[in-house]
Subunit: 349 residues, 2 copies
DNA sequence: ATGAAAGCGCTAACAC
DNA sequence: GTGTTAGCGCTTTCAT
């Protein structure tokens, strides 16, 4: 069943049917009604493939995420889908599972389906893999990747803000030996978070023991491994900040295993503030990076780029701020670990 | 850049280019090489829209899930994508968020994109909403929905097996008052799980207190509410089985809040065995329903239906078995709650 | 205001 | 073995 069938039954030309569907104003109300009636009767839905073939616009945006099974991403996907639906866009989601081959394949799939734009939520992985997209002048939006370029927008995350809050919060609780479990340092974003941690520590006059910078991998298993390492240090940290919540969940899990009580023996701060964080035991204090906001910004970046006739000269930069959400996984540092002069005083001098 | 451009540069007809791309054997190796070289040089990717328009095959499968933010589903989506990619299919995923309007919209989006088949992983919600798909004779695969029909496959979940194991496990630990927190009972699958629980209890000679059948909603919040109710019962259950893991996580969370220790004061069993279950505190004993298997079965059901010339007369039924995975959230019933004669003996009589 | 017809990028049937 | 050509279902001129 095609537009011809509708035209035949409504006794009009296919052009009129097309105009009716697309709300072209010139169609007589009377004809329009007749056409719509037939459309309803038939349950006719236009063929999107044909439409995009002729219009040159697919109304599809691609969405590339690193790992759909990491709870951080589904929230972004849902947010993206919600706005896409409102704007009559379809969304082609692919999960790279951190595999360069899969990324290349994703890119290929996107191009073959002629997406109008792609949101790349892999937090700085192998930017070169997206060159194919760039050279085709397809609008792109990255998270946290370099300065924006023509047709390429960037959502910059203000890690510093939330991480500084976390460090200061811990300092106020008299923690001095604070460890940081990073993500894989090949990721620009993981690097940026670690740097923000170091700067926040220095800013407040706290020493960063290089041993206390542990490279994790943003998974629960990584958190487990990292905690094992930490517990073996001669001078154990009294608090740990993780580069994402999954890592923190792993840390919690292993702490339970080892009889380390959170927050009594160890204070813990996560990053991302995924929904799950508040349901952990104890509820996890975390640095919020709104997934809904990211989705919204990414979609709008793409949409506005597509709607523009001339591409923005330098792309657009959006900024998302992070901030600490206090829950129950942090507490005063164990008495034995505190110095006479509290850190707060020191920093107030 | 189209097939014409390739043809022009390779000095052949577009038909030859098409044949080359599609591996039609008649093309001379020499010409084939020439064409491929131009394709590489140009970075040419065929336009999928045009291809499906003419071939009448979109190579897209739809995947409708209830809630992408529930960790159960991303695993299915990932599994589905993995096989889809291997088979050169694209996947159009939509999340219904339990909203009938969204379901209807999903269906419409699927039809407009001319998907070749749809996997419906909503566990028995509002089957009628998919009538539009059915009437168009689009191959469908449901989870746990009625007997299969022509072009409609069904993956039946053998809830009984896993749930019986759980009940017997608890009984062996001398639990007698076992509660069940169900999902929303409008869902066929939630109903089926509850029924399996009741049958398993009866089978073993344990009474089911109707008060101990609590209707939840498959969310963490639902688990929290349900536990509050349970703690108010005059005769508290000593064990709880949940209709899914998210509910169980809510229960754990609220138990912590109320000072109820799991498993000492309350044994807990989840359902689904999502990856997260093993990272809970304590690690959650759960009834496994393999998400990867579901994805695999669903995809293959669709694929085999599409590849068949004549539709299978009655669709196909697949069966997935569930089974208990023991971890640390269950323990012996508190001494005070046990009767003199143990249940095990009773059932052995 | 409506219809006829061209053409989007591709495949496949048909010629040669 | 290769080229020519007729559509696939639609939008959009260009006539009328």
């Amino acid at each position: 069943m095609s537009i011809h069938e509708v035209a035949r039954r409504a006794k009009v030309s296919i052009a009129t049917v097309s105009r009716t569907i697309n709300g072209v104003s010139t169609v007589t109300p009377q004809l329009s009604r007749r056409v719509w009636r037939v459309i309803e009767e038939l349950g006719y839905y236009p063929n999107t493939q044909a439409r995009s073939l002729v219009s040159g616009r697919s109304r599809i945006f691609g969405l590339i995420v690193s790992e759909i099974t990491n709870p951080f991403f589904p929230e972004i996907i849902q947010g993206f889908e919600d706005i896409a639906v409102q704007n009559n866009y379809e969304i082609l989601t692919t999960s790279t599972v951190h595999d360069p081959k899969r990324i290349a394949l994703s890119v290929r799939r996107m191009i073959e389906r002629r997406v109008e734009g792609v949101a790349i939520v892999t937090f700085g992985m192998e930017e070169a893999l997206f060159d194919d997209l760039k050279s085709r002048k397809i609008p792109l939006v990255f998270i946290d990747v370099g300065p924006p370029l023509p047709r390429i927008s960037n959502i910059r995350i203000d890690y510093q803000h939330g991480i500084r809050e976390a460090v200061q919060h811990l300092a106020a609780l008299c923690h001095e030996r604070i460890a940081f479990i990073s993500g894989p340092l090949i990721l620009k974003s993981a690097m940026a978070r670690q740097r923000a941690f170091i700067e926040s520590m220095e800013e407040i006059g706290l020493a960063v023991d290089p041993n206390h910078l542990i490279e994790g991998d943003h998974t629960m298993e990584g958190g487990i491994k990292a905690l094992k390492k930490i517990l073996n240090f001669p001078k154990r940290p009294t608090a740990v900040i993780c580069s994402n919540d999954m890592t923190a969940i792993g840390v919690m899990r292993q702490s339970y295993e080892e009889g380390v009580h959170i927050p009594r023996d160890l204070s813990l701060v996560g990053f991302d503030d995924i929904r799950l964080a508040q349901f952990m035991i104890p509820p996890l204090t975390s640095i919020k990076m709104s997934q809904t906001e990211i989705a919204r910004m990414a979609f709008n970046a793409l949409l506005s780029e597509v709607q523009r006739d001339i591409p923005s000269p330098d792309g657009t930069e959006y900024v998302l701020r992070t901030s600490l959400v206090l829950r129950d996984s942090t507490a005063m540092a164990p008495a034995g670990a505190r110095k006479k002069v509290s850190v707060l005083k020191k920093s107030a001098e």
